[in-house]
Amino acid sequence: MAKRALSWRRAADIGWRDLKSAPGKFAFVVLSVAVGVAALVGVRGLSNSFRRTLLGEARSLMAGDLSARIFHPPSDEEQNKIAGVMNQDAGMRSTWVTETISMASVPQSQTPLLVSLKAVDPKQYPFYGTVDLQPSMSLQQALAGDSAVVADEFLIRLNAHVGDTLRLGGLNFHIAAVLEQEPDRITSGAGLGPRVMISQEALKQTGLVAPGSRISERLLVKLPENPPHGLTADAETADARAKLESALPDAQVMDFREGNPALSRGLDNATSILSLICLVAMVLGAIGVAMAMHAHLEQRMDMLAILKALGAGSSDLLRIFLLQTMGLGLAGALLGVAAGVGVMAALPSAFGNLLPVRAALVIPWQSGLAGLGTGLLTTLLFCLPPLLDVRGVRPVLVLRRLVEQGPGGIRGFFEWWMRRWPQLLLSVGLLIPLIAIAWTLSDSAAVGVRFGLAFAAALIVLLILAAVTLLVLRLLLNSVRLRIPSSLRHGLANLYRPGNQSAPVLAALGTGVMLILTVYLIQADILRDLRETASPKLPNVFFADIHPDQLAGIKNFFAHQPGLQDALDTIPVVMGRFVSVNGRPVAQLRGQHFPLRMLESAELSWADAPLAGDKVTAGAWWKDGNATEIAVGEGVAKRLHLSPGSSMELETGGVTRMLKVGAIYRADGQHLGSRVEFVVPSGLASDQPSTWYGGVRIDPNQVGAMERGLFAAYPTVTVINVADVLVRIESVVDQITFVVRLLAGFSILAGLMILASSIASTRFRRMREAVVLKTLGATRMRIVRTFSVEFSVLGLLAGAVGVVFANILTHVLLSRLDVAFRIEWGATLLALFGTAVLATATGWLASYRILGLRPLEVLREE
């Protein structure tokens, strides 16, 4: 018998009337969606602005998006290839930066000085960051004609001044300004002697560059503002990098993320945590909505039964409630977008200068639309399983309110699930859009898949654990039932009322606690790791060319230096020559994206333990100082295809040895250890002629005085001042810390509100119980005690389940991010007991009217 379906219009009408009948109740649903979407829009929008700022900072440390270093002037063929790469994309720009060493002199000083010469095209350089000059002027102005800019150290050493003449090669230069800061100082070579910067045009005229000159050429590349062909920024960088590596097979190509590994890692970790916050906000919102809709349908059981008795099919009912849900989802999503944009707009004015994000906050249309779409989609996805329960509503409920529980035990469990196969199927199917949303939010397929699967697995385990926990509690309760106070007994028994939802509520609450605590723990651990990486003890002034017999004197000099914040750190450097790598002669290693010159004339250090700032990522460091092993930096190892066990034949001091790669390490880019790519055991090199590198942390205001003092005592030692750069890095770390804390706090707050609404959604059931208790003569205090036991035990159990999983999840996630995990006892205990308090408080907040209800009001409605 064919049946007519309820028209969409009538379904919408019934749904709308139903909404109007209890607007307060639906406020929770709208609020849940709104909070989730607001967090999503706010977090995503802010984090996008923040990420842009941070990426700008990271790029400025390289002065470009990519750099390719070669150790010879680019040949015509290479120039043509580069031009070919650049021509492929109109928005791409490039410029060469030449670095070499040369002798420089000034008329007033008889002694020439070895300087670290850098030649740039001031019209192009730098692509990111700024060159600070004193007196203030543009680089193009300063390097016009035969002008040069010099480091303060140069003027100190030669007792020269701005305006003096400087002779380089065969050419006189006018010293136009003091070079106070060049953005890529930390990523350009250590160099020898103070910095002198001139234009490329001027360099050609000096005659310093000739075939065979020891020069380093760096090609800086700037990528277009907007990635072409729908590529993401990361894909665009990888694409350009591949093209550069193909055009310059011998060049060491680096992208801006490698410029400062510590910063890049901080940025990566911050991005991960921000993505996580986005995802958590979304999932929490969805859980809130699903819980609220479930509770709503439970209250509408009578209406559903009547409709079914009148001939409505499940599809008619689904139509009504689907429209209702989508309407609520849309309202919540719109409200959430407005709130999210509001939060973003309000933050800078509310915090003023306290907010270190300097990037302009643009209206996040993209985030807004994404929030709207995500809000609607997650509402639909998470509500469908509870909505499908309308299929199981029995019309006979109009005649009798008998709850048939079905068979118990394992059979009952399986039968229950068999009846819900569409929900089960849908829940499994839900994973796909969930992964897609997570993918979109995190811009990473891997993160999306991992998050989706981990979330599903966690939810299943949490549900099972919740059911088991309740079962154990029930067994305990049964054994002591009549020996405990009646309100406690009644409160505990409430967890097992027929048709109860304790396990799902517990699982949802537990999931919420797990997600919130995970966000907190991860951000705390990542920020701690970041602070340690960019700790205030990092050296901000480096020294090169320290002769071994100067070492003791220099250490003594720094022992008495005012403004010193940490003792002088030193590493020795010896020169070596690699003969073969993995059995292949070095000369055959062309096209490995690694300049051969860095193998033919390699700087090595010796140490019998990892150097400060280095972290072993594969293999193990030797314990025997005479081991025939070598440790290699991660980047070099990757380019030369080295791994623990690989062989390298090295010649030092006339002795050639076959060494085994013992360890691969990652340098943080900010310690002395970052200055060398190869480390050998002390026994192999300590007797070789060496020079030393040094590094100290000193008050930036004292650097000038220290430089003068050091020059007076040790005129041959080169000082490389990165204090300004370090200040910038630290300010970036501050930004990361601040924004991550701010957004995590926002997300946590949103999560708490949603959890509160989940608990509040069970109000209806308790209302009936309260009036029955009152009818039986229970006082208000007795009802308060009974329900408080129920709320707090539910909260405590959910808290316990949540904190256990949060710690496990954090441990797993942090190990993937390569960050150490520590149990945060304070946060864990706070989450545990906080959940109980929150559950009790919100339970009562949402139920306060119950105590005032007159029994007849409710019983008449029965």
């Binding site: 064919a2 007519r4 009337r17 009578d302 009547i306």
Partner: protein, 238 residues
Amino acid sequence: MIEVRGAKKWIQNGARRVDILKGISLTIPAGQFVAIVGASGSGKSTLLGLLAGLDTPSEGEIGIDGVPIHNLVESQLAAVRGRKIGFVFQSYQLIQTLTALENVLLPYELNMEGNGLSKARQLLTEVGLQDRMDHYPVQLSGGEQQRVALARAFVIDPPIVMADEPTGNLDSTNGLLVLELLLKRNREAGTTLVLVTHDPEVASHADRKIVLKDGLIAEDTLPFRAAEALVPSEERHG
């Protein structure tokens, strides 16, 4: 015609099985007014639920007009309910968010083609609620709500009307009015009326009285004019 063969109903609560109906067999011819009576817990409402296709028997067969309904899938069962049966409940069971007119119209919208508005209005006028059509259930008295429920039950012209204690919540005047409307429908339209009641006075109007006790038929009588009606006409006249 409604036919029941060996219908049993039990519910399983964990390991415990509660038997509600222990084996019911009966036939209700078209147009008959049957009163089902019995003490509380005797299984009256459960039997009504089975007859109406609101629930399925644990064992046994139920057929309406020769179509077995005990093994229909949910959507087919919904269609049977929607097209063949009108319901009246003790507690009215109106949708609180719809007006009287919309409540009456609803079964039509769910089950019939075309516009049932004029029919809904006509039925509400027939039950004396022509001035209350746009009122919500909460704005109506109990008697008025039950009359709306009657109009709703009649709107699709069902061959069968099932009523569960339709006068149970009403005062005697309203109760009588509702009963008269049901009887009128039964007599004038030839609608089969199955009515569950506690009230002997209400049951006395029925063609047939089925008394349930502990899930079984204790008594099945054709006390009144129905006995005459059930005698084949050739016997009666010949």
